[in-house]
Amino acid sequence: MYPIVLLSFFGIVTLFLGFSKSKNILLPATLLFLIIALAGNFLEWNKGPLLYFYDMLRVDNVTLAFNGIILLSAFMIFAISGGFQDNPDSEPAEYFGLMLFSLVGALMMVGFQHLIMLFIGVEILSVAMYVLTGSNKRNLRSNEAALKYFLMGAFATGFMLFGITLLYGATGSFKLEQIQGFASNMQVGSESYILYAGLLLLLIGMLFKVSAAPFHFWTPDVYEGAPTIFTTFMSTVVKTAGFAALFRLLSGSFTGVYGFWWIVIAAIAVLTLLVGNIGATSQNSFKRMLAYSGISHAGYLLIALTALSKPSQNAIIFYSLAYSLSTICAFGVLMLVSKEKTIGGQPNEYYDAFNGLAKQNPLLAFVLTVSMLSLAGIPLTAGFWGKFFIFTSAAERGIIWITVIAVLMSTVGIYYYFRVIISSYLKEGDLVKIRVAPFYKVILVLATFLTILFGLAPGIFEGLI
């Protein structure tokens, strides 16, 4: 609970810091805020399940683990943003403020115990993201992306709210436990149909947020149009929070009707895997490929949801962490490289931009390679174990066929992830040495190190949660 309170307060402080003449204190200040929030988060470690805000928020180790991943990702993203110094049009105080507020929303989604809390969390997160997507206000694509995201997002929110209403109508409560109690002892009748309809609508709203197919159409355009730093934020923080919320929702309220929804989620998982992986193969833009890859990773995580067990919960936590680390590295390198050779004033985000990267920038090429290997799920990286845990959790439930499809799709994944490795190591290019700020370098190296560490010793977290 501490980080929610702290971050709300810090967000306001950050906005006021924007009045000061020196813009340089913003970045260190927000980083400090995040560290405090992280520390506050783990104060409650092992304190057992605690309930706050009239039982609307639950804090247990799972919540804290997800919070930790979200705050760590946010810390890394803030750090590589460099305080938005390079763009004279930018408004750093507002950006940081909005991101801090959106983190509050994310943390609410992770710990919610009451559907209204979920709704508030989703909205706080989303509204901030709509604004940040359009923050590059002189760029047409950024504006288009923001409008698209907002319109579609608002629509999805409507579905979600309608779903919550129906659930309330069927069960008479917003609380997860009471819905669980009702759903477990439910007779077949009109109420059960209302409950099913409500669940489906609520799922549609949530699946939209995590960009699962067929609700993914906004993802490539929005990811591509938004400034890269916010794309990174969206693809890590929003996705982690979304899956934490989905897992909490389904495991907290709907285990009793597992037979009804598991096939829906399984079908969506398969569709998402197909759309994400096959869509990614035909992209020429690295950034757009990462958007599709984000969709495909949502597919893998949905498999873990289909299994819905204790191992699959740990799998989601591990996978989110591995995915966030690699994604931050990938976007981090992209931001540096794309600035080198602009096309008509816009950053060059195509695969060609990476040609010959390894020659002058061996460190960046290595960071990029490790992150691609991890996303592709090659052994000895964290991504491999993430996939491994997900596959095993599905196999344990006896859902082998979905694992086979996922395995086939991982092979497709190797194709597009390796294209950029080939570009940077094996193709000729005239990239000069890119100047990387020391702090930026530290973050990239740290994320790479963690990716390899978790790849070598995935047991570190075992038994923690």
Binding site: P379, T403, V407, S410, I414, F418, L426, A457, G459
Partner: protein
């Protein structure tokens, strides 16, 4: 503990090589390779064939899930570890005459590869096996993709995706087997041996393993990546691929396929055997028509591995023993042959048989070495190829006489393409490409001489190695037959 040392020593040597700078890298790498060989020979001296798996170690990796970092050496492993550690220094030495850009990286990748291969051959935990199986791919991918020929990007990419695709099937099979183990689950291979799976499931597991290993070896019809990759890769990478990496597939068949799914073998073994035999004949016929020497040897290797697989699928003592000794022999011969092709190519700048001829006039030593290796490869008695091929053919013949007869054609076809290779390059009028051809230098002889010694050693007294593996193989067959 010795096993762990065997795995770690090449990694350490690789890192030292990487740090030692461009000028010293070669020598450091060679010393590293020789040190590993020394260690392997020491292990061989300490090894007791009757005592099962030895020198093991086991660290909990995912303790609660029963997945551990465990490895050990039995007869089958030891043979392949010896092969790997024997060939790696020779591969390093064979690269000395060529200059490769970023030398240090080049040699360190070879050593990393060695470590992963030793890991594959010694792992006693199924997931550790899988990990090394995949990890071995990455160094060799970069070796081929960075230092290879013109078409390298496309070819190596195909190779990479092809092999990953196969091993992912194995991963699914392993995960399934893991959840069949009793209690809190364990991924020890010996636990997998104890499983009693229903025949229908065994069929699926059989094919999942089969695809993974058949792509690696490769067997017909999963071989299309192989000739291109062998041809485009730099010779040391080709040697690693054909001399050692191919054995990962055969080893996998022996270690996993036979003992875990015996009834799958019963139902589908014939089918797999037929595919292997088709590969033998098909590979030989294509080899006869090749004019690129490297491609010719690639196809000959494809044919040979088909016979090894057929021997394994016969699941008899002769078949397995033959496959093991043939792995050793094939590794030695194929590396020697690729090296000789590389020597010829580096002097004449051509690999095409039509453009060569008359090399024996100026280079008697080269042609003698070439002849010996070649005769080993066509399985002349008293050379290393004979022992393995004899055992393999007899096992296939016992399994099915008709298949045995067809597989036996390999002896004839093998001599046709090999002797054609020799005749067209060594004899006949001297072509303009071979003007001023020099005979072997001292370092080239240093590579070929140990190979020749091994050709005769295995050919004349194979018991040294057969005795090593026999107890482990009969133990394995007991599992299969129960």
């Amino acid at each position: 503990m010795l096993t762990l040392l065997l795995i770690l020593l090449p990694i350490a040597a690789g890192i030292i090589t990487l740090l030692s700078g461009e000028r010293l890298a070669k020598q450091v790498a060679l010393i590293g390779g020789l040190a590993s060989l020394g260690l392997a020979i020491f292990v061989w001296q300490q090894f007791d064939p009757m005592a099962g798996t030895q020198f093991g170690f086991k660290y909990a990796w995912l303790a609660a899930s029963g997945i551990s970092f465990a490895a050990g050496i039995d007869g089958i492993s030891l043979l392949l570890v010896l092969l790997t550690t024997f060939l790696t220094p020779l591969i390093i030495l064979s690269a000395f005459k060529n200059t490769y850009k970023s030398t240090a990286t080049f040699y360190s990748l070879i050593l990393f590869m060695e470590s992963a291969l030793i890991g594959v051959f010694t792992a006693t935990d199924a997931f550790l096996f899988y990990l090394f199986f995949e990890a071995a791919l990455i160094p060799v991918y970069f070796l081929s993709a960075v230092w290879g020929g013109e078409n390298r990007l496309k070819v190596t990419f195909k190779f990479f995706i092809y092999t990953i695709f196969g091993s992912l099937f194995m991963l699914v099979a392993l995960v399934y087997l893991y959840y069949q183990t009793p209690g809190t689950h364990s991924s020890e291979i010996t636990e997998f041996y104890r499983l009693q799976l229903i025949p229908g499931v065994q069929g699926f597991i059989f094919w999942a393993f089969f695809i993974a290993f058949a792509i690696k070896m490769p067997l017909f019809p999963f071989h299309t990546w192989q000739p291109d990759t062998y041809t485009e890769s730099p010779t040391p990478a080709t040697m690693l691929l054909s001399g050692i990496m191919l054995k990962m597939g055969v080893y996998g068949l022996i270690r996993f396929l036979l003992p875990i799914v015996p009834s799958g073998m019963e139902n589908w073994g014939l089918m797999a055997m037929i595919l292997s035999v088709i590969g033998i004949i098909y590979g030989s016929i294509i080899a006869i028509q090749q004019s690129d020497m490297k491609r010719l040897i690639a196809y000959s290797s494809f044919a040979h591995v088909g016979l090894m697989a057929a021997g394994v699928f016969s699941s008899s003592l002769n078949g397995l023993q033959g496959a093991l000794i043939q792995m050793l022999a094939h590794g030695i011969n194929v590396i020697g042959l690729f090296f000789i092709v590389d020597i010829i190519y580096s002097r004449t700048k051509t690999r095409y048989l039509d453009q060569l001829g008359g090399i024996s006039q100026t280079s008697p030593h080269l042609s003698v070495y070439f002849m010996i290796l070649l005769l080993g490869s066509v399985a002349l008695p008293l050379t290393n190829g004979f022992v393995g091929e004899f055992l393999l053919l007899s096992s296939v013949f016992q399994y099915d006489a008709i298949l045995g007869a067809i597989a036996g054609l390999t002896i004839i076809l093998g001599s046709v393409y090999m002797l054609r290779l020799f005749q067209k390059s060594m004899f006949g009028p001297k072509s303009k490409w071979v003007e001023g051809f020099q005979d072997l230098t001292a370092s080239e002889r240093a590579v070929l001489l140990p190979l020749i010694i091994m050709v005769f050693w295995i050919g004349i007294y194979p018991s040294t190695f057969l005795k090593l593996t026999e107890p482990a193989v009969s133990q394995l067959l007991q599992l299969v037959n129960n």
